[in-house]
């Protein structure tokens, strides 16, 4: 009986309830990812140089070779695609950090804390998306160098579109990452998901110029709609090299895709063995 009394008398034993999102935890997860991003010098260097290599070396090379309509150069055509590529690589890399955390045990530090799985997913999603947004927006700085003028409303529109695409791809990456138990899977993901997504997105060549099978593949690629949306904003005229879908369709599909991926990723992290 005395045990019962002690039990009830202990206020510390009162039950704590789990809130869906712990904002402090989300904040600190984001702040960690930003610190890591700026401290990993190699990753920082690759992040900065990769889009510039594409834009100014591949872009310049192909500009010499490809016959383009007088209004657009290949370098100009490439800009929305390279912004898309940067978001793709950065978002996937950020979400794969979950696997990294799992491999090095840090994920467990978060999993045993009194926070919901949704909090962890949200922290990773927002940090991954935020890093991609910063990188995507930085690339807009180079638009005058390839002869594209961007107005202030254009910049704001790009910010919104970049954010939508960043969230969509990061959520997709998190969903994939929830299945990976080791970093060995990373190369497979790069080869069979990330690179095909880049090549089949209209980033490097117009989608409607592709043979039927490849063309269908571009239609199920979320990146296609992101790059297409950027073309709406960055290109003055919608000629043969311009956007291929209506803007509302781009935004609509990406939004639906993001929501679906967020739900799937959150569910997937909720699983317990």
């Amino acid at each position: 009986m005395s045990v019962e009394k002690v039990f009830n008398g202990h206020g510390q034993r009162s039950r704590t309830t789990e809130v869906m999102f712990s904002y402090k935890a989300i904040y600190v997860i984001i702040s960690r990812e930003f610190k890591r991003f700026f401290r990993q010098k190699g990753r920082l260097l690759v992040t900065i140089s990769r889009p510039l290599l594409w834009l100014f070396i591949v872009g310049t090379g192909f500009t010499q070779m490809v016959n383009m309509p007088a209004t657009t150069s290949y370098k100009q055509f490439l800009l929305p695609g390279i912004i898309g590529m940067t978001i793709l690589f950065s978002s996937v890399f950020s979400s794969i950090s979950v696997v990294w955390d799992r491999e090095f045990g840090f994920l467990r530090e978060m999993l045993v804390a009194p926070i919901s799985r949704a909090t962890i997913v949200m922290g990773k999603l927002l940090s991954g998306a935020a890093l991609s947004i910063v990188q995507g927006m930085v690339l807009l700085v180079f638009s005058p160098l390839v002869g594209i003028k961007v107005t202030l409303p254009g910049i704001l529109a790009m910010l919104v579109l970049i954010a939508i695409l960043s969230i969509a791809i990061t959520a997709m990456g998190l969903f994939i990452a929830s299945f990976l138990t080791s970093l060995e899977g990373f190369n497979v993901i790069m080869n069979f998901i990330v690179l095909p997504m880049f090549f089949l997105s209209g980033a490097l060549y117009p989608m409607n110029a592709l043979p039927t099978v490849l063309h269908y593949l571009t239609l199920i690629n979320p990146l296609s709609y992101g790059v297409d949306a950027f073309k709406h904003i960055l290109f003055e005229k919608n000629g043969a090299l311009g956007a291929e879908f209506p803007l509302f369709l781009d935004i609509g599909l990406l939004t639906v895709f993001s929501i679906a991926m967020i739900i799937l990723a959150a569910r997937s992290f909720e699983r317990k063995e």
Partner: protein, 321 residues
Amino acid sequence: MSIIQVTDLVKKYNGLTAVNGISFEVKQGESFGFLGPNGAGKTTTINILCTLLSPTSGTAEVNGHDCLKHAHSVRSSIGLVFQDITLDNDLTAYENLKFHCYLYNMNKREMEERIEAILNIVGLYDRKDDLVRRFSGGMKRRLEIARGLLHHPKVLFLDEPTLGLDPQTRTNVWEFINNWRKKEGITVFLTTHYMDEAEVCDRIAIIDHGRIIACGTPEELKKLIRGDTIYLKTADDNRAMSELKETFDIKAAKLHDSISFNVESGDKFIPKIFEGLKTAIVSVNLKKPTLDDVFIHLTGREIREENNNKGGELLKLRRRG
């Protein structure tokens, strides 16, 4: 009052039974050791207790909360130190601890005071702004234990906390854990396959093949086997032997320069020898049974091949002149 209560716990992974119906309880403030060879089910049990795994059947309660139904309440009451290091190498010591405080929703003032205090205790305050990747294994361990204690947990779980550390660092880590336990009155639950680590626990459960085969204080467990061995050197061994036989009804064995015999509690028996024997005693050696002996007794094999036990604790008493 028991702070951990486990009843008929079973965990199966695809046909393999890792934990096979174990029951035990741990009292508040106790240090409780889970001793067993690798693969015995120690980590599985700890993972269930800290809500990372759900049991196949049976129940586990920590601090009065069910580990499955009220995982959140359990998580708020526990601190963890895992088998492998779970620090972020790209963050400083301070940042790692701060990250933890935010996860546990501590307020800023409390956080700052607590981190400073704890870093001073583990002797890492001077290194607080260094990246963890520059730390040695022992420093990382100390930092992790400090982190596990930041949020005032009721129970600290330590899964093989000194694995891969050199003996000197192991001793330091243990000193630190024990001081802290006394200071904050927390319960410590640890798994280990080092006998000397289990030795310092208040109580031990020996686990093998997913079952608890013995549970009790180290003394109780050692009583499971033959008792203590006393080695006597005397001025006249034969006379001593006959005296032992007459006075205590003990049949001693004659070794080449001493005699030996087994008694239940050797330490309590030694004074009686001095009282009961008329023969001059040159020296008395007492060999206590070790947990190793217990494990061998219960399972018929050693806990691990590369056992570093020095052959038991030898308690030596000498009589002057």
